[in-house]
Every structure is written in C-alpha cells, then in structure tokens.
Symmetry: C2
C-alpha cells in the first residue's frame, strides 16, 4: 500500500520565485516587481531577472498570486450560453474569444439548456473559480440571486436576453422590431392568416418576438384573440408536428412566422413533407446555415451574433477597467439591429400556387 509520494522519477522539483531570486542574486520581491511590471527596478537588474526567468523557464503560480492579491484577476471569464453547439451561440462564443484572447483572458463556456437551476449552478461554479467577469444568457425568471452570489466587483454583461430584477449591461438584438418587421413583410404580401411559432414562453426573447408579431398583426387589424400563435415549441420535431397539424386544419394559415432557428428547421421539414414549400410563405427569425441552398431559399430576419459577442466582451472589459479605476460605468442596454434577408420563402403570396 504505497503512499501518495511515489511519483515517477520525473519529479523535477518545480521552480519557484525563490529559486529565480537566488539564481539572479536578488530578493524575491524584486522578481515579483519585474514580472508584474512594477516601477523602481534598475534596468540592469530587471534584465538579469528576466534572463534568469527565461533560463529556468519559471512561470508564476497563478493560484499563489491570486490568493494574495486583493485585486484578484484570474484573467478568466465565464460565459453562459443557450448551448455551445447552437450555431447562434457558437458564433457569439467565437467573437468573445477573439476579444478576450487579446487580453490573455481565457473563457469558460457553459451551456444552459433553458434550465433555471443550471443557470444558477453555472454562475456559482464560475464564481467559485473566481472569474474576472461574466457574460450571461439567462433562463431563470429572475436574476435577483446574482446580487448574493456574485461579488460586487465582478462585472456582468447579459447577452441576447434582458435580465429581470437585476440591473447590468445588456447586449441584444432588436427582437421586437425584428419580429414586427418579419410579420409586416408577410402581411405586405397579402397574408392575413399567419401562424406564429414560438419557443418557450418563459424565454425573454420568445416573449419579445411574440409581442412584435402581435403588434404587426394589430397594425393590420387582426385582433389578438384571432392570432394563430403557438408557443413552447422546444424542438424542431415539435415545430414540425405543429405545422403539419395547422396546415391540415380547415382554417390553415397561408404563411408562417417561425421565431427561432430550430423552429424554422422544423417548419421547413413539415412544408417539404406536404410538398407545400412553394405554396406557404415562411419567414424565420435567426439565420440558418445553407438557407440559400434550399428551394425556395428561406427568408429570415438575421441577427448579428458576432457583433453581439464582440460588443458584450468589449463592454465587459470596459467595466473591468472602470471598476479597477474605482468607478463602475452605468448599465447600458445595447440593442443591435437585425436584417431582413429575402431569399424566396417569405415572398410567396397567398393562394398563389407554385407556378
């Protein structure tokens, strides 16, 4: 029953600041000064220390350093996304990484799956790891818990969705305007029976998009209670089934507004199955890959996920700098525009069968 300490011979004693100091013939504090760029070190001394560090291949131990530091910076950032494998979220992720890498900041990424419990657990895990800042997509109904869980010096930027019961910077798309735009586009083609397909109604973006849909319909005189709005479609399969059912009904819609990318995919599948893709109009919220290769091309309201990610990361670092300087910046709600991309499916007119 051997004890812990029988490491293989590879046990090259790890080099610490003390050895560097001894080797360079200076005090440990001077080494510390050099690596941290503190003033009051003679140029010659600094050079000698740097040379020794390079020779011994010493890397300061982040844990020791962070333990002592009051102004703890781990050069680490927590990112919470719907799911890292959703293309929309992945693009955001990439954009954030590109900003962070310039600061030598590493990104913890975590998936949410629209689960409020997971949101809180993820944030707690980030905080436990002492991240410098947080970029969050939220699922919980209220973000008030953040006040207790996240230390005041850790900045938070919300992305994609607005928080509730908590004030912080937010970067998001113009969901209301975008869905109004999409719906108006269909209405302008002459459609009146338009089905709106939405994600979980607990999700903020879903609510916003539904609201935009309803407003546009109202502009054209469609009463709220006549809206064919289906919510809580959480999978492409659910969306597909819903569309199949809707189109089989006597009051079938002539157009569909699908308010999320996976719902759009489901809707396209359903239209295909029925062979009605040239017959029923479709506008989706959020772009889908290869949307231009499908026949007809899918008309969408495209968001700008890369810009969102970049804006969120930059804002986070601004807050970080400002707080270190002593005065946090006031929270800003940044709204990014969306773009209507016409590719064919949204330009189909009612009761105009395939030519």
């Amino acid at each position: 029953m051997t004890s812990v300490s029988d490491q293989p011979s590879t046990a090259r004693a790890r080099v610490t600041i003390r050895e560097v100091a001894r080797e360079a013939g200076v005090g440990i504090k001077t080494v510390s000064r050099v690596v941290n760029g503190e003033p009051n070190v003679a140029a010659a001394t600094a050079e000698r220390v740097r040379e020794t560090i390079a020779r011994l291949q010493w890397e300061p131990d982040a844990h020791a350093s962070n333990l002592r530091r009051t102004n703890t910076r781990t050069r680490t950032l927590g990112l919470l996304l719907g799911s890292v494998d959703n293309p929309f979220a992945a693009t955001i992720h990439r954009a954030i990484e590109d900003v962070a890498i310039h600061r030598d900041v590493a990104v913890f990424a975590s998936s949410l799956d629209e689960d409020p419990a997971r949101e809180i657990a993820a944030v707690e895990a980030f905080v436990r790891r002492k991240v410098d800042g947080l970029i969050l997509t939220c699922a919980a109904g209220s973000q008030s818990y953040l006040a207790e869980v996240v230390p005041p010096e850790v900045p938070i930027v919300f992305i994609d969705r607005e928080p509730a019961d908590f004030t912080a910077d937010t970067v998001r798309s113009d969901n209301l305007g975008g869905s109004t735009l999409a719906t108006r586009h269909l209405l302008a083609q002459g459609h009146r029976r338009i089905a709106g397909l939405f994600d979980r109604s607990a999700i903020w973006t879903s609510q916003q998009r539904r609201e935009g849909f309803a407003r546009a319909m109202a502009e054209y005189g469609v009463a709220p209670d006549q809206l064919d709005a289906m919510s809580d479609l959480t999978t492409p399969q659910a969306a597909e089934a819903t569309v199949l059912e809707l189109l089989g009904s006597p009051t079938a819609p002539t157009a569909i507004f699908s308010a999320q990318n996976r719902i759009t995919v489901g809707a396209v599948h359903a239209l295909r199955k029925l062979g009605r893709q040239h017959d029923v109009a479709l506008v989706g919220f959020d772009d889908v890959e290869l949307a231009d290769l499908i026949d007809p091309g899918i008309t969408v309201v495209a968001q700008r996920p890369a810009a969102m990610g970049q804006a969120a990361a930059e804002r986070l670092f601004e807050q970080l700098d400002a707080r270190r300087a002593g005065d946090p910046l006031p929270a800003v709600d940044a709204v990014l525009p969306v773009d209507l991309v016409c590719r064919g499916s949204g330009e189909i007119r009612p009761s105009a069968p395939t030519d």
Copy 2:
C-alpha cells in the same frame, strides 16, 4: 488620486474557514475534513459544520486550496478545437461539457484556426491556469513541445487528429476508411473522373482522407497521377471557385468527393450556380446541417462528433483517476466508425442528366 483601497461600503468581510470553525466550535482542519469528504469525523460534528457552512454561506477559496494541494486539482479542463463555431467542433464541445459537468469540472475552450503558433500559445495558457487535463485538436506539425510545456501529471487526449512526435490517447474518426467508403460509393455508380477536394495538406485528417481517396481510386485502377485531387482549399469560396473551374474544363469530372464540411458547402454552391446539381454526383465527408432539405439531398460520410467528445472526455477522466492512483494507463488510439448517409447527391450516375 485615491488609492486602491477605497472600496464601496459593500466590503462585507469575506468569510473564511476560520470563521466557520470558530462559529461551529471546531478546529479549522475539521471543517476542511467535512468539505473534502475525508473520513474520521463524527456524524454529529459533521452535521454541525455543514449547518454552519450553509448559514455563513461559506465557499472554500479555490486558490488557497489549489495552492496547498500537492495533488492539485482545479476541476478545470482545457479544450482546443478547430474553431468553437464550427458545428463539428461545437458538437464535440457540448459532449465534453456534458461529461465534465458530472464531475463539477469547468471547460476552457479555445479556437485554433489551424495556426501552429496558436496551438502552442493556447496550451501554454491552459497550463498556466493549471488545468487538470487537456483535450487537444492539433495543427502544428509536431507535438514534441508538449513534453516540455505540459507537466507529466497532466493527461492529454487528442481528438479528431493524431499527434506527431508525442504519444497520448487519441479519439478520432476512421478518416481513411470513411473516405475510401465515400470514393468507392462514387466508383460503384460508374464514375471514374472523380474530383477530390481537400483541406490544407498540413492537417492530418486531410492527409488521411486524401490517402483513402487515392486507395479507392487505385482499387478501381485509376493511376495516382490521374487523380483530380485539389488540396489546400481553406474556405467555402476557394472550394466553390475550384469546382467552377474544374467543371468548365474539357476533362470535367462527373463526380466530386469533398473531404470537409465547408468544402462541401462551397461545392454545392458551385453546382447550383451552374445548375448541375442533378447532373454531377457529390459525396461529402462530415455532415452538414439541413443536408436533407436541399435538392438533391447531400450524401455524406457522417462522423460522430458527440461520441468522439464523450469518449475523449471519459478517457481523460480515466487517465486522471489512474494517475492519481499512481499508474497511468497506456495510450490508446480509439477509432470511431463513420456512416455513409445516402441522400441523393451521391447516387447520381455518370452522364445521366436530370430526368
């Protein structure tokens, strides 16, 4: 010019293990025992300590803990991917996260962009942050640098691509078999002039797929020097341009094997532009989203990225456990099968125009 220490009144003195101990009327070591699940604590004592921890909302300081621990575990893992926004990589990422979360391990994800320098920089950044293990997709020609940079107790699992000059666990697809399969599929339809489109030849998977392509062609008696194999297609645009050019030539191919998902996208675009999507056969390596909605559906050799991610993560944790127990496991090269998914584009026969 105020100094650092003028924090706002919110300076709620952070609670440490000492306060918990005092409050619970025990020694600090006992508190430590309780939180770490060490044996030899009386049930009653443990309960009292747990209650106190909950009441004071104490969270152990990870830095202090990691600093002291010999067997340092940060519950952190470094993941290096081609790019976090590539769907293939994103799926892997998600699968790894799902395994890691059960162990309360957080994942640092970083993108590679096929840049050897970035590979090294990313690994160094991970090591500096004392990750427990690494899952790497590699771009550099040699991974020998890992021996110097990564401490021997940190396990490494390679994913998607085999390393060079370094031995460690690897989880990857059967690239050779998959591309042979794809090429044979086209050959079996009667095609002989098949264009093979490949990614950067420096990338291991690209080489493997090219080799598989060449082997299958050789089986059917096509000499290597007659192969229409184009390498170093790094963007969909480059692939598109290449296909446009190839199909304009007098010896135009009747089929295309596109060895990577972005190349497939480019090839499909080109075929569309020429209106020959029903005329020229196409098999891609790696699945593409919505491939079944395009007409014709794109036939692909699909990898199993989720299974790869899961296998890699599980292997990493096995190594971790084994090393903590004292004996590292021998390196294993796990090869996952690929699946030929026929959707139409690969079943087009030569000189058979659209019906």
